[in-house]
């Protein structure tokens, strides 16, 4: 086993306003080794993006509160760093690709200038102006954009090209960890495949660790070593890709997720979704958060918060299996 790059322990984040408290991330833990890829899967509102923003300490400071938890990156708890030290990490050690490439780039700056900015902010090697420009050309070529286009503005690029620019910007400083927050959701399907293939290729080449946030299990299957499935701010199942895709025991929610993927070989007239809706994060149910929608729900599930049931690398947050054990 190689060394741990990132370790998140008992992270809990809420958004507090005068009117309500949104419990976005509830006590999650996971870890990531160097040059590995972790998939964070879940529905909209499961707390995936909040988790990612917490890693960079970019949560909106007026409403968001980190109630507890440690985020240890390279042996340092980044929750305790000064703002200035944190800035040195952002963009250089950990960088992020955002969901919507249409709005993630500053419309009044040329793409070259935006990439160069990341390089100049983390200019440890003391690159001169020319060296920075050279590196900008390099990363643009790396993501498949001709270097001569660096003086163009974002509006001159298509969506897929913009996402390439965002990726180039994120990789410019060769970060140790790349957080990709639904990098392909805003793109159409053919471009999705291109961008994903490119990201995989670059990740392998640069040996970058990656957290891939998505709700697309297909993407997870293609890219990830480990998978965390999130529901209502909790990681309800965690394991290697093999555990998740081929294991025998699963959280009922995971089963539902897989069940809702349409299958080409079986003729079905309707899709089979998971009944019900994600619980209101301002008013989470007692006990297991999935209990109102769970087909195997018992009284115990409604009363008690389940504990993890662990087998090897595989962790499931459900009473179903612990019950079997105790019986």
């Amino acid at each position: 086993m190689s060394e741990k790059l990132l370790e998140v322990k008992n992270l809990e984040v809420i958004y507090k306003t005068d009117l309500e408290t949104v419990r976005a991330v509830n006590n999650i833990s996971f870890s990531l080794e160097k040059s590995q890829t972790l998939g964070l899967v879940g529905e909209t509102g499961a707390g995936k993006t909040t988790t990612a923003l917490a890693l960079l300490r970019l949560l909106p400071d007026r409403t968001a509160r980190v109630l507890q938890g440690e985020i240890v990156f390279n042996g340092k708890n980044i929750m305790e760093l000064e703002e200035k030290e944190m800035r040195d990490i952002r963009g250089e050690k950990i960088s992020m690709i955002f969901q919507d490439p249409m709005t993630a780039l500053n419309p009044v700056m040329t793409v070259g200038a935006q990439i160069a900015e990341a390089l100049e902010l983390h200019n440890d090697a003391n690159r001169g102006k020319e060296a920075v420009e050279k590196r900008v050309n390099e990363v643009l070529e790396m993501v498949g954009i001709p270097a001569m286009r660096k003086n163009d503005s974002p509006h001159q690029f298509s969506g897929g090209m913009k996402q390439r620019v965002v990726i180039a910007m994120a990789l410019a400083c060769e970060p140790e960890l790349l957080i990709a927050d639904e990098p392909t959701t805003a793109l159409d399907v053919t471009i999705q495949a291109q961008v994903l293939a490119m990201m995989n290729e670059l990740r392998d080449r640069l040996q970058t660790a990656m957290i891939m946030i998505t709700h697309d299990l297909g993407i997870i299957a293609e890219t990830c070593d480990n998978v965390a499935i999130m529901y209502a701010g909790e990681i309800i199942e965690y394991g290697t890709a093999e555990d998740i895709f081929e294991g025998e025991q699963h959280h009922p929610y995971t089963v539902g997720l897989f069940g809702s993927i349409p299958n080409l070989e079986v003729e079905a007239r309707r899709l089979s979704p998971i009944d019900g809706l994600m619980p209101d994060p301002t008013n989470l149910p007692e006990g297991c958060k999935f209990s109102p929608r769970c087909p195997h729900c018992t009284d115990k599930c409604r009363r008690e918060q389940p504990a993890y049931y662990e087998t090897g690398t595989h962790r499931i947050l459900c009473h179903l299996y612990s019950k079997e054990e105790s019986l």
Partner: protein, 311 residues
Amino acid sequence: MYKYVIKRILLLIPVLLGVVFIVFFIMNLTPGDPGRLILGESAKQEDVDRLNDRLGFNKPYFVRFFNYIKDIVTKFDFGLSYATQKPVVDQILIKFPYTLKMAIASVFLSTIFGVTLGVTAAVKQYTAIDSSITVLAMVFTVMPAYWTGMLMILLFSIKLGWLPASGASSLKHYILPVLTIAITAMGSMMRLTRSVMLEAIRQDYVRTARAKGAPERRVVYGHALKNALLPLITSVGSMFGGMMGGAVLSETVFNIPGIGSYIVSSIRSKDIPAVMTCTLFFATLFSLIMLCVDLLYAFVDPRIKAKYVNS
């Protein structure tokens, strides 16, 4: 780009013709005739009639209108002021520098302070700093210039004796009037900046900039403010343009011989050539300033530049 500028300058011609036509028409509706105005109440009616005839006042409206335009275009002649019998243009050239100096200084002041305070308020939204800036902006906006000016004279000229209260003979004389104009303009500048910045700092690219590790000052001024500039430029431009017509209230309170008081006294004495020329002058300057604003847009926002180039 050049094409666009030339097109815009050519468009000025119909705009100015329209302005002249309307003002000429309005002045035509006012009672009184130039002969009587020039010669005075006690002059003989025959002399007045003769003068009116010589000035072409007895010709139909459209003939006078075309003659007026013709004189301007062919001879660059804007006519003689009825009151002083001197070319109006000379008068304007004497008065305008006062107005221009005041306008530049007060636009500069109100922009610098208005934008900085507005940005600060937006960044610190819902804090005590934000509330104090918002209240200050409100107070500045509701204080009329003549009242602010009067208070300043009371405090700085009469009570403390630091600054002169009237006239424009030295740099010191400009301080109070410029402050007066700037304070009034600053209020709206602060409010506008705050609201456009509030929107800008919520944009995704601002988060991208933070994720790059950019320090807060760079995020706010380099990324967010640069995107919020368009409405600010428009506002500063029209504020500056508006001041080209003079700040009548401040000029009156502080007794500064600028364009504003000139235009008002010309209207009062029905000095038609003076009013016409001032209006024309003001309209031209305002249009040119707005053209500059539009060109600045292209400089700030590449999307608009692309539009200009393609049009």
